[in-house]
Structures are given as structure tokens and as C-alpha cells.
Symmetry: C2
Subunit: 374 residues, 2 copies
Amino acid sequence: MAKEFVVTPWEVTGEVDYNKLIKEFGTQPLNDELIKKIEKKAGKGHHFLRRKIFFSHRELDILLKEYEQGRKFALYTGRGPSGNTHLGHIIPWMFTKYLQDAFDVPLYFQITDDEKFLLKPNLSLEETNKMGYENALDFIALGFDPKKTFIFVDSDYAKTLYKIAIQIAKKVTGSSARAVFGFTNNTNIGMYFWPAMQAAPCILPSILEGRKVRTLIPAAIDQDPYWRIVRDVAPKLGYPKTAAIHCVFLPALTGPKGKMSTSTGEHSTIFTTDTPEEVKKKVNKYAFSGGKDTLKEHRKKGGNPDIDSSYKWLSFFEEDDRKLKKIYNEYKSGKLLSGEIKQILIEKLNTFLKEHQKKREKARSQLDKFILKD
Amino acid sequence: MAKEFVVTPWEVTGEVDYNKLIKEFGTQPLNDELIKKIEKKAGKGHHFLRRKIFFSHRELDILLKEYEQGRKFALYTGRGPSGNTHLGHIIPWMFTKYLQDAFDVPLYFQITDDEKFLLKPNLSLEETNKMGYENALDFIALGFDPKKTFIFVDSDYAKTLYKIAIQIAKKVTGSSARAVFGFTNNTNIGMYFWPAMQAAPCILPSILEGRKVRTLIPAAIDQDPYWRIVRDVAPKLGYPKTAAIHCVFLPALTGPKGKMSTSTGEHSTIFTTDTPEEVKKKVNKYAFSGGKDTLKEHRKKGGNPDIDSSYKWLSFFEEDDRKLKKIYNEYKSGKLLSGEIKQILIEKLNTFLKEHQKKREKARSQLDKFILKD
């Protein structure tokens, strides 16, 4: 029997069954006890937790126990700068902000201009490097504290990273890289090495802080295989295993299959730099609708919010549970029309983006305060 | 039929037929016309040229033609710091000094602490890095001009090198690295990438000098395959193909097969830091003799200088052709005994090493003047 969905770091297709994925990847479900621990420390809940948008983890329990015993961890996330930041990218970053505020820990943000250059035939290193600093603005715009947030662009921080990466690389054979990352005979030798560069920030905090620091990676679940190698290697080098907390994908605007990605077409994606008109046009034109074919039928039978992209997106961006529930019920009953739920999403996104774009421009002058240099 | 000798970057065994090697590798023999051109420019000959110790090249003719038209090239050689420098290492360096004096060109010297760390299970990066700077002293001791000689240790110059290396790496597939470098499934991913780090200095001069600079690599012939990849890739990136000039191996003290290498045993090797007593002991005890079994027989039939390690070594270290010829003839006639030719070599080496060790210690305070930093 063919699998109904595929999730690897390089391919996400089909309608993902996240419970099956937990079993397949061998991760742990994010249980109520852990959620309560986080919320208690944060002093407030997060709709990403309540709605199981973050739903899985590796060794978060151990990390939180250590934290309670006084051992601070470090957060690590990042961005592959192959184009503009879209809303799918910032989901884990928003949650990372919540975690940093809750636990008051340092945060390392890797921008992988080298990877995107090596991976994309048509991109130059200059282009991915420039795009990396642009993407960093979106990250800073979310309100991170420069005193404890450290951003680095691989090719500009290579002196530090390369020394760490070769320690990791020495412990990883060509054949494990092929198995974990899907490399073939035709994969270039830069990509063969690159998993070690991506693993390096799991060890970087220990080196910079001069103590054994466990890292916690908030990221979409498809990135999990990347950390299997470093979880295997870190203890061999005398460092703690990396912990992870995984989120689901923001679905493509065009429907619930796969994940939102620029490579599936610009219309399936909303960028942080889109104008209000672009957002309006994309949502109206491309957002997959769970509504009925005719107004009459919709009023009578109601829409299906569970497959409606606008509703799905609102479950990520509308923080107020009551408002969201109301939208769900009214759409399901037929009171709310497809055009109307789209309008609610458009307003929600444009309100967010107006503020974000202001902060994003302000971030240009703050960039230097965040950037780690060799 | 099994091959009588094997020459790859990772294996040299058997008695090497250098003429066969030229055909096998597809290089060009170093002909009299080229030798004359070099000697004319240098204003003096070199016994490594006269004695065909440098015997093969790639596109040296093109490089010299460009030089005559006013385009300066750059020299590039290096050292893999897995241990102390031995006399086999400094043979190409001595000739590099002659070439730099002759052509007044910049010289780049790469110390590959990353490679030796990745390659040797028991060496730490700290160890190879430290050894790298020790090895650099031997290079500086040969009298290079700090104004035009640039030494860099890979892990300490990684910011610059990594950016260049990934440009190269993007054009090299895993399978070509396997074919050229003999990598297997078990080779670590650091080594998979490393050929790009070794190729980077072929392009570095163009970047630092802001013009298209062809490099010339003086090295032992077994290193040639390493440059095939960069000769293929450099033109694709808009840089000139690297030229090369190849030397034979200084044979092991213990006999004419293979090349001198620390890995074949310390007794087959003389280090630049050996004491006069160690040199004496090693030559007397281990130098393979072409002499006869008894004094009577030796006096009667004479020795065989062509297989005698002491004579072979004198052909590298005794610059005076007449003296060397005299030794050859007297050994062959039986006038010179095995113990006596060993004594000549011991004196020659110890005279050289006494001076070298003085300069080597003096080089410690000059090191900073030579080191390239990111």
C-alpha cells in the first residue's frame, strides 16, 4: 500500500497524519503535563500549545527537569534564505519568542546562506547572503531581546562554525548522510558536508558559554531528521543531546495537502512583505474554500471549516479562542459565508503585517546588535 | 598482470617508474626548453632540474608564456600537519624558494590542520593545529620573503576559505570525489567536502589580488589527482586552470620502494628536528645499502649506487654535480665503502640541519609576519 503522506526534510506531500508521524519518527507527543509546565513558567498560555500546533517533542521533559534544577538551556532555530520570509516560516519563531520570554534563555538563530547556495542551482552566494540578512529582519521584528539573541549567517561566521562542524563531521560517514538526508551520487560535496554545519549550533552555546548547554530546537516536524545525526554525535563529543519541540505545517493557502512553500507557487504563500492588496487578492483568489457551491446550499448545509484554508490559517493567527470558536460554529452552520471568512482572515493578516512591516524596517538599524561575528 | 607500483594521493607502493606515471596521469615531461626558460629567469640552475627530480608538469608552458607577456602567477604549496616535518616534505619547498626568487611572485602556503584532523582517528584539531604552526617554522626557515609569502592554517582562515570552497564544492559531485579521492561509504563527510578546501587556494590569489591569477603548484607527483578537480572547476567559475610542476619522491631511508613517510616507520624518516646523533644512528642503522656483503667483495666488484639509499639521498642534498659524480664513481668502483658513503650523507645532513634548526628557531618570532588572517 502506498503511503498517504510523505514527510522528509526535502519533501512534504499528502495530507499529514501527525499522530502517525510521531510513531514513524519515534518522537514523543507533547502531553498536558509538559504543556502546563511551560505555561506556568511563562505565566500565560499560548494558542499554539492549546491547539496542538506544537504537538511533539524529543527530550523536552529532561530539559525542563534540568531547568528546574537550575541548568539553563539555549534555544536554537534558523532560516534557509532562499527567498522572502513567508508566514509559514514565522510560526516556529513566534513560539520561540514565547519560550525565550518564559525561560529567559539565550537564543541562537542560524541563517544558512551556504546551504541554500549549495542546494539551488540558480542562486549565487551573494544572493543567499543578502537574502539572509533580509530574512533576519523578520525574525528581529518579532521582538527578540538583542542581549540574549544571537544571529549568525553561516558564510560570515564560518571561522567559528567550521571548527565545530569538522568535529561533528569526523563522526558522520558518507553513507549515514545519504540515508538521513537522501543524498545521491549526484549530490554535491558541499551538501554532503553541510549537515555538520547545521548541527554545529547545537554545540556552539556550550563553546561560547564555556559550560555544557543543552539546546532546544523549536521547528516544524519535517526538520526532525536533521537533528538525529547531532543527537547521535553530541554525546560522543561530550555534549548534551539536543532536545526538540515540533510544530505542524501552516498549510498552503491552496489546500490542506503538503506544506506552504514558495516552491509550490507564489499564490500558495503569503510573504511578510506583501501589500494589503496582495494579501486580499491572494486570499480571495487562492484560499481553498470549505464552503458550498451555491449561497443557498451554504446557508442550508453550512461550510466545512476543517478543510477551509481561511479557517485553518485563523487557527494559527487568531489568538482569541472564543472568537475562533465563534467563526468555526458560524461557518459550519452556514451563517458565515466563504467570502466573509476570507474577509476575516484578510483583516487579521493585514493587521498583523502592517505592524510587522513597521517593526521589520525598524530592525534594519538594530541588526548589528544581533549579529555574531568571528 | 598486477601493477608493479601504485601511486595515488593515499598510497605509494612499489618501485615507481616515473616515465610510466607521466603517461598514466596524462602530464607532460619537463623538457629542456622549459628547464632553460626557468634557469634563465633564475640566473642560475638548480640540481633538482638537472637531475630530473622535478620531471613533469601541467601547463607550465602556458604559465611561462603568460609570464613573459607580463602576467604574474602565484605559487601555491602546503603541508598536512600530521607530525613533525621530515626531509621529504621540504624537497618541493626548497624548489619553491628557487621559483619564487626567480620569478618574484607571491606564494601561498596552506596548512591543512582540518584535513589531518578529519583523516587521523587519533589526532585532535588542537594537535593538528599546533603541529601546523610548528611545520610552518620549517617552511619559513628556508628563507622565504614575508612580504610576498602568505601562510594560512585552514581552521584559522576558514571564513575566507569556506566561502571559496563552497563555490568549488557546488560543482563537484559525491561520485567524482569518490572516484578521484578513493572515498568510500565509510569516509566521513568532512573528508567528502575537504577536496574543496584544498582547491580553494587555487582561487584565493585571484580574490585577494583582484585579478585573474594562475597558480603554479610545485608538489610531489602523487598529489596530482587532487588538482584534477580544481582544474576542471576553476574555468567554470571564471578562473584560470592551475598549473603544476611535479617532483619524484625522496625514497625511504630503508629502501627504494614507496615514498618516505612517517607512517612507514620513524626509522625510514629523518625529521628536521632530529639531533646529529639521531641522524647518525638512523643512517648507519637503516639506510639501505647497495654495497656488497663483504669488504673483499665490495673492493673487488664495487657497490650499486642506483639502489643505495645514501647515494639516492645525496642526489637530493649534494648540490655539487662533480662531488656527486665522484661519489657515484668511487662507490661503483668499490673504492668508497658503504660505511663511508653513509658517513658522507650523515655529514651532509647534519651540516644542513644544524643551519636549518637555527633558522627554524629564529622563525618563531617571524611567524606573525607570514600568517594570513580572516
